[in-house]
Assembly symmetry: C2
Homo-oligomer: 251 residues x 2
Protein backbone atom coordinates (compact mmCIF):
# COMPACT_ATOMS: atom_id res chain seq x y z
CA UNK A 1 0.00 0.00 0.00
CA UNK A 2 1.26 3.48 -0.87
CA UNK A 3 2.01 5.78 2.02
CA UNK A 4 -0.16 8.83 2.59
CA UNK A 5 0.90 12.38 1.77
CA UNK A 6 1.32 15.11 4.36
CA UNK A 7 -0.27 18.36 3.16
CA UNK A 8 0.53 21.74 4.69
CA UNK A 9 -2.64 23.61 3.83
CA UNK A 10 -2.83 27.40 3.91
CA UNK A 11 -6.37 28.31 4.96
CA UNK A 12 -5.91 32.05 4.50
CA UNK A 13 -6.02 35.00 6.90
CA UNK A 14 -9.38 34.56 8.60
CA UNK A 15 -12.37 35.04 6.30
CA UNK A 16 -13.42 31.44 5.53
CA UNK A 17 -14.07 32.44 1.90
CA UNK A 18 -10.42 33.42 1.50
CA UNK A 19 -9.47 29.76 1.42
CA UNK A 20 -8.45 28.50 -2.02
CA UNK A 21 -10.51 26.12 -4.10
CA UNK A 22 -7.55 23.73 -4.01
CA UNK A 23 -7.44 23.69 -0.22
CA UNK A 24 -11.21 23.30 -0.01
CA UNK A 25 -11.23 20.30 -2.36
CA UNK A 26 -8.41 18.68 -0.45
CA UNK A 27 -10.04 19.17 2.94
CA UNK A 28 -13.26 17.65 1.65
CA UNK A 29 -11.47 14.38 0.95
CA UNK A 30 -8.67 13.88 3.51
CA UNK A 31 -9.37 11.35 6.25
CA UNK A 32 -7.09 13.02 8.85
CA UNK A 33 -6.83 16.70 9.78
CA UNK A 34 -4.34 18.21 12.25
CA UNK A 35 -4.52 21.75 13.55
CA UNK A 36 -2.62 24.04 15.93
CA UNK A 37 -4.36 25.48 18.95
CA UNK A 38 -3.57 27.04 22.31
CA UNK A 39 -3.52 24.72 25.32
CA UNK A 40 -7.10 25.67 26.04
CA UNK A 41 -9.55 27.21 23.64
CA UNK A 42 -10.31 27.31 19.98
CA UNK A 43 -8.05 26.76 16.97
CA UNK A 44 -8.29 29.70 14.58
CA UNK A 45 -7.07 27.56 11.67
CA UNK A 46 -9.78 24.99 12.39
CA UNK A 47 -12.47 27.65 12.67
CA UNK A 48 -11.51 29.04 9.26
CA UNK A 49 -11.59 25.61 7.65
CA UNK A 50 -14.62 24.28 9.52
CA UNK A 51 -17.15 24.72 6.67
CA UNK A 52 -15.07 22.37 4.50
CA UNK A 53 -14.16 19.61 6.94
CA UNK A 54 -15.89 16.31 6.23
CA UNK A 55 -17.89 14.50 8.88
CA UNK A 56 -15.97 11.65 10.39
CA UNK A 57 -12.44 12.92 9.74
CA UNK A 58 -9.93 11.99 12.40
CA UNK A 59 -8.72 15.21 14.04
CA UNK A 60 -5.33 15.72 15.68
CA UNK A 61 -5.13 18.85 17.82
CA UNK A 62 -1.60 20.23 18.26
CA UNK A 63 -2.01 22.17 21.49
CA UNK A 64 0.88 24.42 22.38
CA UNK A 65 1.47 25.84 25.86
CA UNK A 66 1.80 29.62 25.59
CA UNK A 67 5.02 29.92 27.54
CA UNK A 68 8.50 30.87 26.44
CA UNK A 69 10.05 27.49 27.11
CA UNK A 70 11.59 25.19 24.63
CA UNK A 71 10.94 21.73 25.92
CA UNK A 72 7.15 21.65 26.02
CA UNK A 73 7.02 22.80 22.37
CA UNK A 74 9.57 20.21 21.25
CA UNK A 75 7.62 17.49 22.95
CA UNK A 76 4.31 18.68 21.50
CA UNK A 77 5.68 18.69 17.94
CA UNK A 78 7.45 15.36 18.45
CA UNK A 79 4.23 13.77 19.64
CA UNK A 80 2.19 15.28 16.79
CA UNK A 81 4.77 14.11 14.24
CA UNK A 82 4.57 10.61 15.69
CA UNK A 83 0.78 10.54 15.49
CA UNK A 84 0.75 11.91 11.95
CA UNK A 85 3.45 9.45 10.83
CA UNK A 86 1.32 6.52 11.89
CA UNK A 87 -1.54 7.68 9.66
CA UNK A 88 0.81 8.30 6.70
CA UNK A 89 2.40 4.86 7.04
CA UNK A 90 -1.07 3.34 7.14
CA UNK A 91 -1.77 4.99 3.77
CA UNK A 92 -3.91 7.88 4.96
CA UNK A 93 -3.33 11.43 3.72
CA UNK A 94 -3.07 14.05 6.47
CA UNK A 95 -3.83 17.77 6.12
CA UNK A 96 -2.24 20.18 8.59
CA UNK A 97 -4.26 23.39 8.74
CA UNK A 98 -2.15 26.56 8.67
CA UNK A 99 -3.36 30.13 9.15
CA UNK A 100 -2.34 32.27 6.20
CA UNK A 101 0.37 30.54 4.18
CA UNK A 102 2.30 27.54 5.55
CA UNK A 103 5.75 28.79 4.49
CA UNK A 104 5.26 32.47 5.32
CA UNK A 105 6.30 32.60 9.00
CA UNK A 106 4.07 29.60 9.70
CA UNK A 107 4.42 27.11 12.54
CA UNK A 108 4.03 24.37 9.93
CA UNK A 109 7.80 24.46 9.49
CA UNK A 110 8.27 22.68 12.83
CA UNK A 111 6.32 19.69 11.57
CA UNK A 112 7.84 20.03 8.10
CA UNK A 113 11.35 19.80 9.56
CA UNK A 114 10.40 16.61 11.36
CA UNK A 115 8.59 14.95 8.46
CA UNK A 116 10.18 15.93 5.17
CA UNK A 117 13.01 13.41 5.27
CA UNK A 118 10.72 10.47 5.91
CA UNK A 119 7.46 11.31 4.16
CA UNK A 120 6.09 12.93 1.04
CA UNK A 121 5.13 16.51 1.95
CA UNK A 122 3.22 18.98 -0.22
CA UNK A 123 2.36 22.58 0.55
CA UNK A 124 -0.77 24.34 -0.67
CA UNK A 125 -0.06 28.07 -0.54
CA UNK A 126 -2.63 30.40 0.97
CA UNK A 127 -3.50 34.09 1.12
CA UNK A 128 -1.05 35.51 3.67
CA UNK A 129 -1.99 37.98 6.38
CA UNK A 130 0.40 40.35 4.62
CA UNK A 131 -1.53 40.82 1.41
CA UNK A 132 -4.86 40.42 3.19
CA UNK A 133 -3.99 43.31 5.49
CA UNK A 134 -3.00 45.50 2.56
CA UNK A 135 -6.27 44.67 0.79
CA UNK A 136 -8.27 45.65 3.86
CA UNK A 137 -6.45 48.97 4.25
CA UNK A 138 -7.26 49.83 0.66
CA UNK A 139 -3.72 50.87 -0.22
CA UNK A 140 -1.10 49.03 -2.30
CA UNK A 141 1.50 47.19 -0.26
CA UNK A 142 4.30 47.55 -2.79
CA UNK A 143 4.47 48.46 -6.45
CA UNK A 144 6.85 49.13 -9.30
CA UNK A 145 10.41 48.79 -7.97
CA UNK A 146 9.63 49.23 -4.27
CA UNK A 147 11.76 47.20 -1.91
CA UNK A 148 9.33 45.53 0.50
CA UNK A 149 10.69 44.22 3.80
CA UNK A 150 8.96 42.11 6.42
CA UNK A 151 10.33 42.91 9.86
CA UNK A 152 9.56 40.70 12.87
CA UNK A 153 9.05 43.20 15.69
CA UNK A 154 10.74 41.03 18.39
CA UNK A 155 14.18 41.73 16.84
CA UNK A 156 16.45 44.17 18.74
CA UNK A 157 15.81 47.86 18.10
CA UNK A 158 19.22 48.66 16.58
CA UNK A 159 18.95 45.69 14.25
CA UNK A 160 15.47 46.76 13.12
CA UNK A 161 16.68 50.35 12.63
CA UNK A 162 19.39 49.18 10.24
CA UNK A 163 17.01 46.98 8.28
CA UNK A 164 14.32 49.65 8.11
CA UNK A 165 16.74 52.08 6.47
CA UNK A 166 17.14 49.64 3.57
CA UNK A 167 13.38 49.38 2.92
CA UNK A 168 10.82 51.42 0.97
CA UNK A 169 7.70 49.60 2.12
CA UNK A 170 7.63 47.70 5.41
CA UNK A 171 5.39 45.31 7.27
CA UNK A 172 6.17 44.85 10.94
CA UNK A 173 4.77 41.50 12.05
CA UNK A 174 4.33 39.97 15.54
CA UNK A 175 3.96 43.46 16.97
CA UNK A 176 2.42 42.66 20.36
CA UNK A 177 4.37 44.15 23.25
CA UNK A 178 6.91 45.65 20.81
CA UNK A 179 4.48 48.35 19.71
CA UNK A 180 6.29 51.30 21.31
CA UNK A 181 9.59 50.20 19.78
CA UNK A 182 8.07 50.03 16.30
CA UNK A 183 6.48 53.44 16.71
CA UNK A 184 9.85 54.93 17.72
CA UNK A 185 11.55 53.33 14.71
CA UNK A 186 8.98 54.62 12.24
CA UNK A 187 9.06 58.09 13.77
CA UNK A 188 12.85 58.21 13.42
CA UNK A 189 12.45 57.47 9.71
CA UNK A 190 9.60 59.93 9.21
CA UNK A 191 7.25 57.08 8.30
CA UNK A 192 4.87 57.10 11.26
CA UNK A 193 2.28 59.59 10.03
CA UNK A 194 0.92 57.46 7.22
CA UNK A 195 1.54 54.08 8.90
CA UNK A 196 -1.43 51.82 9.62
CA UNK A 197 -2.10 49.39 12.44
CA UNK A 198 -4.05 46.22 11.58
CA UNK A 199 -5.31 43.37 13.73
CA UNK A 200 -7.51 40.42 12.82
CA UNK A 201 -7.54 41.30 9.11
CA UNK A 202 -10.59 39.97 7.21
CA UNK A 203 -12.23 38.74 10.41
CA UNK A 204 -15.33 40.12 12.08
CA UNK A 205 -13.27 41.77 14.81
CA UNK A 206 -10.91 43.37 12.27
CA UNK A 207 -9.42 46.67 13.42
CA UNK A 208 -7.55 49.12 11.16
CA UNK A 209 -6.31 52.39 12.61
CA UNK A 210 -3.76 55.09 11.91
CA UNK A 211 -0.67 53.96 13.84
CA UNK A 212 -0.93 56.81 16.33
CA UNK A 213 -4.51 55.86 17.23
CA UNK A 214 -3.72 52.20 17.96
CA UNK A 215 -4.46 50.93 21.50
CA UNK A 216 -0.77 50.65 22.39
CA UNK A 217 -1.40 48.98 25.73
CA UNK A 218 -3.31 45.99 24.35
CA UNK A 219 -1.74 44.89 21.08
CA UNK A 220 -2.13 41.19 20.22
CA UNK A 221 0.91 39.22 19.07
CA UNK A 222 -0.49 38.59 15.60
CA UNK A 223 -0.97 42.21 14.64
CA UNK A 224 0.75 44.11 11.88
CA UNK A 225 1.94 47.61 11.07
CA UNK A 226 2.22 48.65 7.41
CA UNK A 227 4.21 51.72 6.40
CA UNK A 228 5.71 53.22 3.28
CA UNK A 229 8.56 55.64 2.88
CA UNK A 230 6.51 57.64 0.37
CA UNK A 231 3.42 57.71 2.56
CA UNK A 232 0.39 57.53 0.29
CA UNK A 233 2.68 56.33 -2.44
CA UNK A 234 0.18 55.42 -5.09
CA UNK A 235 -1.16 58.96 -5.32
CA UNK A 236 2.16 60.65 -5.82
CA UNK A 237 3.90 58.55 -8.34
CA UNK A 238 1.42 57.82 -11.02
CA UNK A 239 3.70 59.09 -13.79
CA UNK A 240 6.60 56.98 -12.68
CA UNK A 241 4.20 54.11 -12.21
CA UNK A 242 2.84 54.14 -15.71
CA UNK A 243 6.35 54.23 -17.07
CA UNK A 244 7.13 50.93 -15.45
CA UNK A 245 3.87 49.24 -16.34
CA UNK A 246 4.44 49.98 -19.97
CA UNK A 247 7.82 48.32 -19.83
CA UNK A 248 6.59 45.13 -18.26
CA UNK A 249 7.85 42.97 -21.10
CA UNK A 250 11.42 43.05 -19.86
CA UNK A 251 12.58 46.54 -18.86
CA UNK B 1 -29.82 53.60 -8.46
CA UNK B 2 -26.70 52.76 -6.49
CA UNK B 3 -23.40 52.87 -8.33
CA UNK B 4 -21.53 49.66 -8.95
CA UNK B 5 -18.43 48.56 -7.05
CA UNK B 6 -15.02 48.12 -8.64
CA UNK B 7 -13.38 44.91 -7.41
CA UNK B 8 -9.67 44.21 -7.77
CA UNK B 9 -9.69 40.44 -7.73
CA UNK B 10 -6.56 38.39 -7.03
CA UNK B 11 -6.85 35.21 -9.08
CA UNK B 12 -3.68 33.63 -7.68
CA UNK B 13 -0.38 32.60 -9.25
CA UNK B 14 -1.50 30.37 -12.11
CA UNK B 15 -3.13 27.11 -11.01
CA UNK B 16 -6.86 27.87 -11.49
CA UNK B 17 -7.61 26.03 -8.22
CA UNK B 18 -5.45 28.52 -6.31
CA UNK B 19 -8.17 31.12 -6.69
CA UNK B 20 -10.07 31.85 -3.48
CA UNK B 21 -13.68 30.86 -2.88
CA UNK B 22 -14.43 34.56 -2.41
CA UNK B 23 -13.03 35.49 -5.81
CA UNK B 24 -14.81 32.57 -7.46
CA UNK B 25 -18.19 33.55 -5.98
CA UNK B 26 -17.71 37.15 -7.05
CA UNK B 27 -16.73 36.26 -10.60
CA UNK B 28 -19.77 34.04 -10.94
CA UNK B 29 -22.06 37.02 -10.36
CA UNK B 30 -20.41 40.17 -11.77
CA UNK B 31 -21.80 41.46 -15.08
CA UNK B 32 -18.54 43.09 -16.22
CA UNK B 33 -15.00 41.66 -16.15
CA UNK B 34 -11.82 43.53 -17.15
CA UNK B 35 -8.43 41.88 -17.61
CA UNK B 36 -4.89 42.85 -18.58
CA UNK B 37 -3.26 41.33 -21.63
CA UNK B 38 -0.43 41.93 -24.05
CA UNK B 39 -1.26 43.77 -27.27
CA UNK B 40 -1.66 40.45 -29.02
CA UNK B 41 -2.22 37.12 -27.38
CA UNK B 42 -3.78 35.64 -24.33
CA UNK B 43 -4.43 37.17 -20.90
CA UNK B 44 -2.94 34.98 -18.17
CA UNK B 45 -5.31 36.45 -15.58
CA UNK B 46 -8.29 35.62 -17.77
CA UNK B 47 -7.04 32.10 -18.42
CA UNK B 48 -6.74 31.46 -14.68
CA UNK B 49 -10.24 32.76 -14.01
CA UNK B 50 -11.89 31.28 -17.10
CA UNK B 51 -13.58 28.32 -15.35
CA UNK B 52 -15.50 30.76 -13.15
CA UNK B 53 -16.58 33.44 -15.62
CA UNK B 54 -20.30 33.46 -16.35
CA UNK B 55 -21.65 33.27 -19.87
CA UNK B 56 -22.70 36.63 -21.16
CA UNK B 57 -20.46 38.82 -19.01
CA UNK B 58 -19.24 41.98 -20.69
CA UNK B 59 -15.46 41.74 -21.01
CA UNK B 60 -13.05 44.67 -21.15
CA UNK B 61 -9.55 43.76 -22.35
CA UNK B 62 -6.81 46.10 -21.15
CA UNK B 63 -4.18 45.49 -23.80
CA UNK B 64 -0.80 46.98 -23.05
CA UNK B 65 1.89 47.52 -25.67
CA UNK B 66 5.08 45.84 -24.46
CA UNK B 67 7.35 48.80 -25.00
CA UNK B 68 9.15 50.98 -22.51
CA UNK B 69 7.21 54.12 -23.28
CA UNK B 70 5.02 56.02 -20.95
CA UNK B 71 2.33 57.52 -23.11
CA UNK B 72 0.77 54.43 -24.65
CA UNK B 73 0.34 52.94 -21.16
CA UNK B 74 -1.19 56.13 -19.80
CA UNK B 75 -3.65 56.22 -22.65
CA UNK B 76 -4.54 52.55 -22.27
CA UNK B 77 -5.27 52.93 -18.56
CA UNK B 78 -7.16 56.19 -19.10
CA UNK B 79 -9.36 54.52 -21.71
CA UNK B 80 -9.97 51.46 -19.52
CA UNK B 81 -10.83 53.65 -16.54
CA UNK B 82 -13.32 55.53 -18.69
CA UNK B 83 -15.00 52.35 -19.92
CA UNK B 84 -15.14 50.89 -16.41
CA UNK B 85 -16.53 54.12 -14.96
CA UNK B 86 -19.46 54.03 -17.35
CA UNK B 87 -20.46 50.58 -16.10
CA UNK B 88 -20.07 51.60 -12.46
CA UNK B 89 -22.19 54.72 -12.94
CA UNK B 90 -24.83 52.59 -14.62
CA UNK B 91 -24.97 50.47 -11.46
CA UNK B 92 -22.99 47.48 -12.69
CA UNK B 93 -20.21 45.92 -10.56
CA UNK B 94 -16.93 45.43 -12.38
CA UNK B 95 -14.22 42.86 -11.53
CA UNK B 96 -10.66 43.52 -12.64
CA UNK B 97 -8.73 40.25 -12.81
CA UNK B 98 -5.24 40.43 -11.29
CA UNK B 99 -2.57 37.74 -11.38
CA UNK B 100 -1.43 36.87 -7.87
CA UNK B 101 -2.51 39.56 -5.42
CA UNK B 102 -3.75 42.99 -6.63
CA UNK B 103 -1.70 45.03 -4.14
CA UNK B 104 1.50 42.97 -4.27
CA UNK B 105 3.37 44.58 -7.19
CA UNK B 106 0.21 44.36 -9.27
CA UNK B 107 -0.69 46.48 -12.27
CA UNK B 108 -4.12 46.97 -10.65
CA UNK B 109 -2.66 50.00 -8.87
CA UNK B 110 -2.76 51.99 -12.10
CA UNK B 111 -6.51 51.57 -12.34
CA UNK B 112 -6.89 51.93 -8.58
CA UNK B 113 -5.11 55.29 -8.68
CA UNK B 114 -7.51 56.49 -11.35
CA UNK B 115 -10.71 55.18 -9.74
CA UNK B 116 -10.46 55.30 -5.96
CA UNK B 117 -11.38 58.97 -5.58
CA UNK B 118 -14.52 58.65 -7.65
CA UNK B 119 -15.79 55.12 -7.06
CA UNK B 120 -16.13 52.47 -4.38
CA UNK B 121 -13.19 50.09 -4.76
CA UNK B 122 -12.68 46.79 -2.94
CA UNK B 123 -9.73 44.43 -3.16
CA UNK B 124 -9.96 40.66 -2.81
CA UNK B 125 -6.50 39.42 -1.85
CA UNK B 126 -5.04 36.43 -3.64
CA UNK B 127 -2.24 33.90 -3.29
CA UNK B 128 0.88 35.79 -4.40
CA UNK B 129 3.55 34.36 -6.67
CA UNK B 130 5.88 34.80 -3.68
CA UNK B 131 4.31 32.24 -1.37
CA UNK B 132 3.27 30.04 -4.29
CA UNK B 133 6.89 29.83 -5.42
CA UNK B 134 8.06 28.92 -1.93
CA UNK B 135 5.40 26.21 -1.70
CA UNK B 136 6.52 24.72 -5.00
CA UNK B 137 10.19 24.68 -3.98
CA UNK B 138 9.28 22.78 -0.82
CA UNK B 139 11.26 25.03 1.49
CA UNK B 140 10.03 27.68 3.92
CA UNK B 141 10.26 31.24 2.63
CA UNK B 142 10.79 32.84 6.03
CA UNK B 143 10.28 31.73 9.58
CA UNK B 144 10.76 32.77 13.16
CA UNK B 145 12.40 36.21 13.21
CA UNK B 146 13.81 36.15 9.68
CA UNK B 147 13.83 39.47 7.88
CA UNK B 148 12.33 38.78 4.45
CA UNK B 149 12.98 41.30 1.68
CA UNK B 150 11.47 41.47 -1.79
CA UNK B 151 13.96 42.98 -4.22
CA UNK B 152 12.90 44.09 -7.72
CA UNK B 153 15.82 43.04 -9.91
CA UNK B 154 15.67 46.12 -12.21
CA UNK B 155 17.08 48.32 -9.40
CA UNK B 156 20.72 49.41 -9.74
CA UNK B 157 23.32 46.91 -8.59
CA UNK B 158 24.83 49.01 -5.79
CA UNK B 159 21.36 49.77 -4.44
CA UNK B 160 20.46 46.07 -4.46
CA UNK B 161 23.76 45.18 -2.78
CA UNK B 162 23.00 47.52 0.11
CA UNK B 163 19.47 46.19 0.53
CA UNK B 164 20.57 42.57 0.29
CA UNK B 165 22.98 43.03 3.19
CA UNK B 166 20.05 43.96 5.42
CA UNK B 167 18.06 40.79 4.58
CA UNK B 168 18.04 37.20 5.85
CA UNK B 169 15.66 35.74 3.27
CA UNK B 170 15.25 37.35 -0.14
CA UNK B 171 13.02 37.07 -3.15
CA UNK B 172 14.29 38.76 -6.30
CA UNK B 173 11.34 39.50 -8.56
CA UNK B 174 11.13 40.65 -12.20
CA UNK B 175 14.45 38.91 -12.87
CA UNK B 176 14.38 38.76 -16.69
CA UNK B 177 17.46 40.28 -18.24
CA UNK B 178 18.86 41.13 -14.79
CA UNK B 179 19.74 37.50 -14.09
CA UNK B 180 23.52 37.89 -14.22
CA UNK B 181 23.39 40.87 -11.88
CA UNK B 182 21.35 38.94 -9.32
CA UNK B 183 23.72 35.97 -9.53
CA UNK B 184 26.70 38.28 -8.88
CA UNK B 185 24.95 39.85 -5.89
CA UNK B 186 24.08 36.51 -4.31
CA UNK B 187 27.59 35.18 -4.90
CA UNK B 188 29.08 38.23 -3.18
CA UNK B 189 26.94 37.44 -0.12
CA UNK B 190 27.68 33.72 -0.18
CA UNK B 191 24.00 32.98 -0.83
CA UNK B 192 24.14 31.61 -4.38
CA UNK B 193 24.73 27.94 -3.67
CA UNK B 194 21.36 27.25 -2.08
CA UNK B 195 19.39 29.82 -4.13
CA UNK B 196 16.56 28.61 -6.36
CA UNK B 197 15.29 29.89 -9.69
CA UNK B 198 11.52 29.64 -10.32
CA UNK B 199 9.41 30.49 -13.35
CA UNK B 200 5.70 29.90 -13.97
CA UNK B 201 5.09 28.64 -10.43
CA UNK B 202 2.05 26.34 -10.09
CA UNK B 203 1.52 26.27 -13.88
CA UNK B 204 2.04 23.33 -16.23
CA UNK B 205 5.24 24.83 -17.57
CA UNK B 206 6.61 25.46 -14.08
CA UNK B 207 10.41 25.31 -13.84
CA UNK B 208 12.38 25.17 -10.58
CA UNK B 209 16.16 24.89 -10.73
CA UNK B 210 19.19 25.53 -8.57
CA UNK B 211 20.20 29.09 -9.44
CA UNK B 212 23.41 28.00 -11.15
CA UNK B 213 21.49 25.66 -13.48
CA UNK B 214 19.01 28.33 -14.67
CA UNK B 215 18.94 29.11 -18.41
CA UNK B 216 20.53 32.54 -17.94
CA UNK B 217 20.08 33.59 -21.56
CA UNK B 218 16.30 33.17 -21.66
CA UNK B 219 14.83 34.32 -18.36
CA UNK B 220 11.25 35.65 -18.53
CA UNK B 221 10.40 38.93 -16.81
CA UNK B 222 8.04 37.31 -14.32
CA UNK B 223 10.53 34.90 -12.84
CA UNK B 224 11.81 34.78 -9.28
CA UNK B 225 14.93 33.84 -7.35
CA UNK B 226 14.59 32.78 -3.72
CA UNK B 227 17.58 32.69 -1.41
CA UNK B 228 18.30 32.51 2.29
CA UNK B 229 21.35 33.61 4.22
CA UNK B 230 21.30 30.37 6.19
CA UNK B 231 20.89 28.23 3.08
CA UNK B 232 18.73 25.27 4.01
CA UNK B 233 17.61 27.19 7.05
CA UNK B 234 14.89 24.94 8.33
CA UNK B 235 17.24 22.00 8.79
CA UNK B 236 19.84 23.79 10.82
CA UNK B 237 17.87 25.74 13.29
CA UNK B 238 15.30 23.43 14.67
CA UNK B 239 16.32 24.06 18.26
CA UNK B 240 16.12 27.80 17.90
CA UNK B 241 12.89 27.35 16.00
CA UNK B 242 11.13 25.43 18.68
CA UNK B 243 12.17 28.00 21.24
CA UNK B 244 10.30 30.70 19.40
CA UNK B 245 7.23 28.66 18.62
CA UNK B 246 6.75 27.94 22.27
CA UNK B 247 6.76 31.63 23.03
CA UNK B 248 4.16 32.56 20.50
CA UNK B 249 1.82 34.10 23.07
CA UNK B 250 3.72 37.37 23.17
CA UNK B 251 7.48 36.90 23.42
Amino acid sequence: MAEGVLYGVGVGPGDPDLITVKAMKLLQRVPVVAWPAPLEGESLARRIAAPHLPDGAVEIPIRMPMVEARFPAEQVYDAAAEQISEHLIAGRDVAVLCEGDPFFYGSFMYLFARMTERHQVEVIPGVSSLTASAAMTGAPLASRNDVLTILPAPLPEDDLARRLKAADAVAFIKVGRHFDKVLRLLEAEGMADSALYIQHATMEKQMILPLRDAPSGSIPYFSMILAHRRGDAWRKTEEEAVFKAAGSANP
